[in-house]
C-alpha cells in the first residue's frame, strides 16, 4: 500500500453535525448555533432572540412558554412559573426565600414540586418546557434535530442542580454533550481560551441575579477559582429604582396591577434609553387618565442607582479574596447580562478592575454564543486538537489482549466526552466467557499500566475460535466517568462496568505522582520498613532506659556495662538508615536484657509479697 503525506493532526473528514448551545437563564433563555464558523443566536418566528424563562400551565394540560406566558405572570401567578431555575435540584428546606413566591409548593424528597391547574409539576418539568421551546426553534433554524446540545449552568451549581438540568434536557428530548459553566461560556465566546494564560473575571448582572466568577486559564482549560454574587440583585432592581423615583416625582401610587405594570415598563424603557442617550423623557399615565411628562438624565439615574452598583462590588471583592488574588492579577474582565449595558455598571467595573471590560459582544447573547461554539466542537465539526478548552483524558485507556499487551481504545489527550468501540473475538473453540481487563497508561505491557477494572462477559454461545464478535465500547462522559461495555453481537449477551479513571488523575501533577509511585515502589517499601523498625527500636530503648533508671542495682557492674553497650549500639543503628541493622541490634539488646527483665520481675514480686498475709492477697 502506498501512502501520501497528511496534514499534521488531520483526521478523516468529519460529517457535519447539527449542534446548539443553550443558555438556560433565570430570567431569559437563548439558543445559538455555529454557522460558517460564526456563532449566531437563533431567533423565533417573530425575530426575537430572548425567550422569557416563563412557563404557564393550563387546566386543559396546555402549556405556554415565553412571551405568551409572561403576560399572565400577575394574573395567574400560581400557574405561571418565573425563575424556576432557582428551584432546580432544591428541596423545600434549601429554599428559605420560597415564602415570597406565589406558588403552591409540595414538599418532596430531593426537589420541591408545584401544584398547578394541570396537576403537580417539578422544576425539572417546567425547565424542560423551556428547553422544548428552544429545541423547536433550533430544529426550525437548523433544518433538523440537533445531534446534541451544550447547556450552561451557573458555576456554583452543585451536582443535584446539574443533574436536574440534565434531566430536564432529557425530558425535552435533547442529547446533552455536556453542561458548561456560564462564565466559562462567556470567556469562550470572547475567544479567551485561545488568549494568554491567566486569570479572568466574569461579571454577570442578569435580570434578577448577580454572579461574579474568577476563572483561571491554563493550557486552554478554564478552572473556576471562586464565585460569589447576590441571588436577588439584577436589572429589575434598577427598574424598581426608577419606578420609585417616578412615584416620588408624580405623587402617584398605583394600586392596581395594570398601572404598576405600565409604570414599571416606563421605568425600564427609560433605563434602557439612558444606556444610549444622556437623557430621556418619561411619560406616566395617572389613574385619572392624565399624562405627566418627566425628564431623567443619566446623571440623576446614576445617583438613583449608585447604591445598587455598589452592592455588586462587595461580592466581587469577596470572590477575589476567596481566590487569594488582587486586582492586578486579573488579565481581563468579561461582562455578561443585559444589565451590564448600563454605562454606570461599565464605569464601576472599569474603575474597580483598573481596566476597561470586554464589551464587544452582546451581553445578553454571550453565554449562548460560547455554548454554541462548545457544542459545535463537541459535535466534531472542528478539528478538536487545536482547541483545548475541554477536559482531556490524561492517560490512554486500554484493554488487555492476549499476551498481556495493552490495546489502547481511547488515546491520551482525547477530549471528553468520547466513545470508542472495538471488536474482539474468542481464541479457543467453544469459549463461552471473556475476561475484560481495563487498564490505563501509556506502556505496552499490561503489567506496566494501571489496572482500573476487570469484569467477565459470560454466556457467549459455544462457537469455533474467532467466530464470536464481542464489541467492547469505552465511553467517557463529560464528568470523566468511564463505562465499559462488552456485548457479543450474535447472541446479544452483554456485561458492563463503570469506573472513574480521572479520580486523582485529572491533574498532571497527580498523574506524575502516580507514575513516580510506580517507579519508586521498591524504595517506598524500604522506607516503610525502616520507619517501622525505627519506631520499634526507639520503644525498646526507652523501655530499657527507664528500667535501668529504676533498678540498675539489680545488675553487677559487668552486666551493667554489657547492657549499656547494647543500648548504645542500638541508638547508633537507629541514627543510621539500615533497617536490617536496626533489627539485628534490637534483637541483641532484647537478648542482653532478658536476664535483667527476669530479675526485675522476681524482685517486684518479692517486694509485693514481703510482709503480706496470704488472705490479704486474695482478690
Amino acid at each position: 500500500m502506498l501512502l501520501q503525506i497528511s496534514e499534521p493532526g488531520a483526521k478523516a473528514p468529519p460529517q457535519r453535525r447539527l449542534a446548539a448551545g443553550i443558555d438556560l437563564g433565570t430570567t431569559n433563555s437563548l439558543v445559538a448555533t455555529v454557522r460558517d464558523d460564526q456563532a449566531v443566536v437563533l431567533e423565533d418566528s417573530q425575530g426575537r432572540v430572548l425567550l422569557p424563562s416563563v412557563v404557564r400551565y393550563h387546566a386543559d394540560q396546555r402549556v405556554e412558554v415565553g412571551h405568551d406566558a409572561k403576560l399572565w405572570q400577575s394574573e395567574d401567578p400560581e400557574n405561571t412559573f418565573v425563575s424556576v431555575k432557582r428551584y432546580m435540584g432544591r428541596g423545600l428546606d434549601d429554599l428559605p426565600e420560597h415564602h415570597g413566591a406565589p406558588y403552591r409548593f409540595i414538599d418532596k424528597p430531593g426537589m420541591v414540586q408545584f401544584e398547578t391547574h394541570a396537576g403537580s409539576v417539578s422544576p425539572v418539568q417546567v425547565s424542560s418546557e423551556i428547553l422544548k421551546s428552544l429545541r423547536e426553534r433550533a430544529v426550525q433554524a437548523l433544518g433538523g434535530e440537533p445531534s446534541g446540545v451544550v447547556i450552561t449552568v451557573p458555576a456554583y451549581f452543585d451536582d443535584a442542580q446539574r443533574q436536574a438540568t440534565k434531566d430536564a434536557a432529557k425530558l425535552a428530548g435533547l442529547e446533552v454533550y455536556r453542561l458548561l459553566n456560564e462564565p466559562t461560556a462567556a470567556a469562550v465566546a470572547y475567544g479567551l481560551d485561545q488568549a494568554a494564560e491567566g486569570v479572568y473575571a466574569v461579571y454577570d448582572l442578569g435580570g434578577g441575579t448577580f454572579d461574579i466568577s474568577i476563572l483561571k486559564l491554563t493550557q486552554g482549560v478554564f478552572k473556576v477559582l471562586a464565585t460569589n454574587g447576590d441571588p436577588a440583585l439584577g436589572g429589575d432592581d434598577f427598574d424598581r429604582a426608577v419606578y420609585d423615583w417616578l412615584i416620588k416625582q408624580t405623587g402617584f401610587a398605583p394600586t392596581d396591577t395594570r398601572h404598576v405594570r405600565s409604570l414599571l415598563s416606563a421605568a425600564r424603557i427609560a433605563k434602557e434609553r439612558l444606556s444610549e442617550h444622556p437623557d430621556t423623557g418619561v411619560s406616566v399615565e395617572l389613574s385619572d387618565g392624565s399624562v405627566v411628562n418627566l425628564s431623567l438624565s443619566r446623571e440623576s439615574f446614576d445617583a438613583l442607582t449608585e447604591g445598587l452598583v455598589k452592592k455588586t462590588i462587595t461580592p466581587v471583592r469577596k470572590a477575589l479574596r476567596d481566590a487569594g488574588l488582587s486586582i492586578q492579577d486579573i488579565k481581563g474582565v468579561v461582562l455578561v447580562g443585559g444589565a451590564t449595558r448600563m454605562p454606570c455598571i461599565r464605569q464601576a467595573v472599569a474603575d474597580f478592575f483598573q481596566q476597561p471590560p470586554l464589551v464587544d459582544l452582546d451581553p445578553d447573547k454571550v453565554v449562548a454564543l460560547g455554548a454554541a461554539l462548545q457544542a459545535n466542537l463537541l459535535a466534531g465539526n472542528r478539528a478538536g486538537d487545536d482547541w483545548l478548552l475541554l477536559d482531556v483524558i490524561p492517560l490512554s485507556l486500554g484493554i488487555e489482549t492476549l499476551g498481556g499487551l495493552s490495546e489502547k481504545i481511547i488515546q491520551r489527550n482525547a477530549t471528553i466526552p468520547v466513545a470508542r468501540a472495538q471488536e474482539f473475538t474468542t481464541w479457543k473453540d467453544g469459549q463461552t466467557a471473556m475476561s475484560i481487563h481495563v487498564v490505563q497508561g501509556e506502556r505496552e505491557l499490561v503489567s506496566e499500566c494501571r489496572s482500573l477494572a476487570r469484569f467477565e462477559l459470560r454466556g457467549i454461545p459455544p462457537m469455533v475460535a474467532g467466530a464470536a464478535r464481542v464489541r467492547v465500547t469505552y465511553q467517557v462522559d463529560a464528568d470523566g466517568l468511564l463505562s465499559v461495555s462488552a456485548a457479543e453481537q450474535i447472541s446479544g449477551v452483554e456485561a458492563r462496568v463503570e469506573v472513574k479513571p480521572s479520580y486523582g488523575l485529572s491533574d498532571a501533577d497527580i498523574a506524575r505522582m502516580i507514575e513516580d509511585s510506580y517507579a519508586h515502589a521498591q524504595e517506598d517499601l524500604e522506607a516503610r520498613r525502616l520507619h517501622e523498625q525505627r519506631a520499634e527500636a526507639e520503644r525498646l530503648v526507652e523501655a530499657t532506659e527507664s528500667a535501668l533508671a529504676l533498678d540498675s542495682g539489680l545488675l553487677n557492674p559487668d552486666e551493667l556495662a554489657q547492657l549499656g553497650q547494647s543500648l548504645q549500639a542500638l541508638k547508633q543503628a537507629i541514627a543510621g538508615s539500615d533497617w536490617q541493622a536496626i533489627k539485628r541490634t534490637a534483637d541483641l539488646l532484647n537478648e542482653a536484657s532478658t536476664e535483667f527483665a527476669g530479675r526485675r520481675m522476681d524482685y517486684s514480686i518479692k517486694t509485693a509479697l514481703t510482709g503480706q498475709k496470704l488472705d490479704a492477697l486474695q482478690v
Binding site: 502506498l2 503525506i5 496534514e7
Partner: protein, 107 residues
C-alpha cells in the same frame, strides 16, 4: 538508530513542502489500528516535540517520536510507482507480518 529516505522520496517530500509553503519536515509514526495491529502515519511537521528524534536525509528533516522509532528503526522510506498509483512506501526491516492490503503490520 536511523530512518532514511531514498533520494526519490526526499525529492518528493521537498517538492510537497515547497508547494505547501511551510513545515519543518516529515513525521513518520506508527499507530495501533488496521487489521494486523500497527499502521504507519506520514505527516508534515509544523511543530516538533521535545522528545522527537530528528534524522536528515538528502536535506529533508525526518522526525520520529521515540515510541514509534522502536517499530521503525532501520526503515527506508521510498517513493514508488505501482501501476497507476504513486506514493510512499515503507521498507521496514522490523515487520514480520503484513495484512493483505499492507495497511497494517506486526513486528
Amino acid at each position: 538508530m536511523a530512518i532514511t529516505l531514498t533520494e526519490k522520496a526526499a525529492y518528493q517530500v521537498q517538492k510537497h513542502l515547497t508547494a505547501r509553503g511551510r513545515g519543518l519536515g516529515l513525521r513518520l509514526a506508527v499507530k495501533t489500528s488496521g487489521c494486523s495491529g500497527l499502521a504507519y502515519t506520514l505527516e508534515f511537521v509544523d511543530e516538533s516535540a521535545q522528545e522527537d528524534l530528528a534524522f536528515d536525509s538528502f536535506g529533508v528533516t525526518v522526525l520520529v517520536d521515540p515510541k514509534s522509532l522502536a517499530y521503525l528503526d532501520g526503515t527506508e522510506l521510498d517513493f514508488v510507482r505501482e501501476g497507476l498509483n504513486e506514493g510512499f512506501k515503507f521498507n521496514n526491516p522490523n515487520v514480520k507480518n503484513q495484512c493483505g492490503c499492507g495497511e497494517s503490520f506486526t513486528v
